[in-house]
């Protein structure tokens, strides 16, 4: 559905992405993980068409995205970035309605879609609120609703949703509800690529794990097929271990924090 082929991106003089190739299929939820500076957000920017690659290309359902008209591309993929700020006093409903910019819809059709996506993202009670008075987490959910509104008038099976750390400002309850929503959207065969910092959240929902390090894709696998602790320990350059917990299907990854490893930082001056 959406694939990259030997994708390389230079920002300034730095090569941020190095020959990244993968193919995310219809209805798959792929999580991109990696340490800070690995190139995760750059990958999302390149896949959304913001950054022009110096080599390789991004294909959306067989079409190179750089050659798609802006309006056509906007009807086939939506993006939620980390920047959720809005400098003017818009109502949350107006921000969500901006997702409908690429479409020509009547007022009642727009109202129906806003109503639906605000239910899905649990922001119905915020619709009449000024976006500037919302918390970071609430704004993040409003932006997710805006991205869903952008896709809703089309066919979800032919569209892609790109998310850059959609859980970063959410509380635990909202995180789990958002993960459940992503699962629900995946069941409707929407293709989702999501950058996540929370490894356990990524493991709990991902069909595919794309592991980036220093701009290169070092693993592209189903989460359960990997030797997770070893791969992730090498990726994040810190000892990690896998813990099983009761009825939970997916493993939990936690840092190995031995007394010895903590000692140097806890030492006090004599």
């Amino acid at each position: 559905m959406i694939c990259t082929s030997r994708l390389s991106v230079i920002v300034g003089r730095q090569k941020i992405l190095k020959e990244v190739s993968f193919d995310v299929h219809h209805g798959e939820l792929a999580c991109v993980i990696g340490p800070n500076g690995a190139g995760k957000s750059t990958l999302i920017r390149a896949m959304s068409g913001d950054l022009k690659p110096c080599e390789g290309e991004v294909m959306l359902a067989g079409d190179p995205i750089q050659r798609l008209a802006l309006g056509h591309l906007a009807r086939r993929r939506a993006v939620v970035t980390q920047d959720t700020s809005v400098p003017f006093s818009f109502r949350a409903a107006e921000v969500i309605a901006l997702g409908l910019t690429p479409w020509s819809l009547s007022h009642s059709e727009a109202e129906d879609i806003i109503s639906l996506v605000s239910d899905l993202t649990d922001v119905r009670h915020l619709l009449d609120r000024d976006i500037q008075t919302l918390s970071g987490g609430e704004r993040q959910r409003v932006q997710l609703a805006r991205a869903l509104a952008q896709l809703w008038p089309g066919e979800l099976t032919e569209q892609a949703l790109l998310l850059d750390e959609p859980l970063s400002a959410l509380d635990m309850g909202q995180q789990s509800r958002t993960l459940a929503l992503l699962q629900k959207l995946r069941e409707r065969e929407l293709t989702i690529i999501c950058v996540m910092h929370d490894l356990n959240a990524a493991l709990s929902c991902a069909d595919r794990l794309l592991v980036l390090k220093d701009g290169a894709l070092i693993a592209d696998e189903h989460p359960r097929r990997l030797d997770l602790p070893l791969l992730l320990s090498q990726t994040f350059e810190t000892p990690l271990e896998q813990v099983s917990h009761g009825s939970r299907e997916t493993p939990i990854i936690v840092p190995v924090t031995t007394h010895r490893s903590l000692t140097p930082t806890l030492k006090t001056a004599p």
Partner: protein, 368 residues
């Protein structure tokens, strides 16, 4: 279209035509602002050295429109139609242009404190006008019959356009125009223009110094039917160009990247905003001199009244800008009658406290 049977987690009913309600609010707000503009025009037509009753002013205007008023005009009709009306209508056009230009630039820079001066148009126009006024004796001797006002206006127009062109060219690399760079180069060009103005003011004699100072403080006294028609022609094109970009400008408030994701041709939008806003401001100030604060304050007032949707902010800023400049000009004419206050002084005296209020309000609303 996708249909899902998902209800809210809390099972709340639909909020009930929220967009429809906002749309109705926008229409009522615009109607109110339109009425404010009409009342302001009527007030300004009635007020001045010679008081004309509003009903009399209306009957003179109707007489002129219907063709009933012919032959030699009574004194009040001659003053209204020959002097006051073109001046009031010029204030309408200039105020509308400054208001809309301020609103689109605040939208483009995603900064509610942006104003047309940021991209160098005002300081460029001032530098152009000052240079022209400095060389006026030479220019009036060699320019083929144009009056001093026209020569100054052309100088201001050229200065404004050249400085924005410089800012735009310097901020564009590889076909991409950075709004942050525009702000920085705008500051640099403003400084260069300020220095140029300083050099010419320093070198000017008494007479030139007075004409330069008066131009810098703004006045609509030179407005007549001829200047009005030319400015109206330019401004109609500008308003037509600017009012059409309300919807993409709404998307742009989410950020440049997000606007691109929503299918907005961002580079084209920036170009259109810069071209039309520059032309609107330059043609407004060319005949009237510098008029501050309208471009900054008016969009705020409209947002407070009708929300931030540019589909109401842009036409609303045109109507509110027109009303405020008409009222400011009326105040400039009557406060120290029979003399006149420079209109730039009036807008600054009223606008500066409002700017302080905005900054204090912003300080209160932004978490530290």
């Amino acid at each position: 279209m996708n249909v899902v049977g998902v209800r809210g987690r809390t099972g709340q009913p639909t909020t009930g035509l929220l967009l429809e309600r906002l749309s109705i609010n926008r229409r009522w707000s615009l109607l109110g602002l339109g009425m404010l503009a009409c009342v302001s025009i009527l007030f300004a037509c009635s007020t001045g050295a010679l008081e004309i009753e509003p009903s009399r002013a209306l009957s003179i205007l109707w007489g002129k429109i219907s063709g009933a008023l012919t032959g030699s005009l009574p004194p009040d009709a001659a003053i209204l139609l020959g002097i006051r009306l073109p001046r009031v209508l010029f204030a309408v056009i200039a105020g509308a242009g400054l208001g809309v230009a301020g609103a689109v630039l605040q939208g483009l820079f995603r900064n509610p404190l942006a104003d047309p001066g940021l991209i160098g148009v005002s300081s460029g126009a001032a530098a152009g006008a000052v240079i022209t006024l400095f060389f006026m004796p030479f220019l009036t001797a060699h320019q083929g019959g144009l009056g001093a006002d026209w020569v100054t206006a052309l100088g201001a127009l050229a200065g404004g356009l050249i400085s924005v062109l410089l800012v735009y060219k310097l901020s564009t690399k590889g076909g991409y125009t950075s709004t942050v760079n525009m702000l920085l180069f705008g500051i640099a060009i403003n400084t260069v223009a300020g220095s140029l103005i300083g050099v010419f003011i320093y070198s000017a004699d008494e007479a030139r110094l007075r004409s330069i100072t008066l131009w810098m403080m703004g006045s609509l006294a030179s407005a007549n039917w001829r200047t009005l028609f030319i400015t109206a022609g330019l401004m109609t094109a500008c308003l037509f160009g600017l009012l059409r970009i309300a919807k993409p400008l709404n998307a742009f408030t989410l950020g440049e990247q997000q606007a691109l994701h929503l299918g907005v041709p961002v580079s084209q939008l920036k170009r259109r905003v810069i071209i039309w806003a520059t032309l609107a401001v330059a043609s407004s100030v060319a005949f009237s001199g510098l008029i501050g604060f309208i471009g900054l304050v008016v969009p705020h007032l409209v947002r407070l009244l009708a929300g931030s949707d540019h589909r109401v902010v842009l036409p609303g800023s045109a109507l509110m800008g027109a009303s405020l400049l008409v009222l400011a000009d009326a105040m400039a004419r009557i406060t120290v009658a029979p003399a006149e206050l420079p209109i730039g002084l009036v807008t600054s005296i009223l606008g500066a406290p409002f700017l302080i209020f905005l900054l204090l309000k912003r300080r209160g609303s932004v978490p530290s």
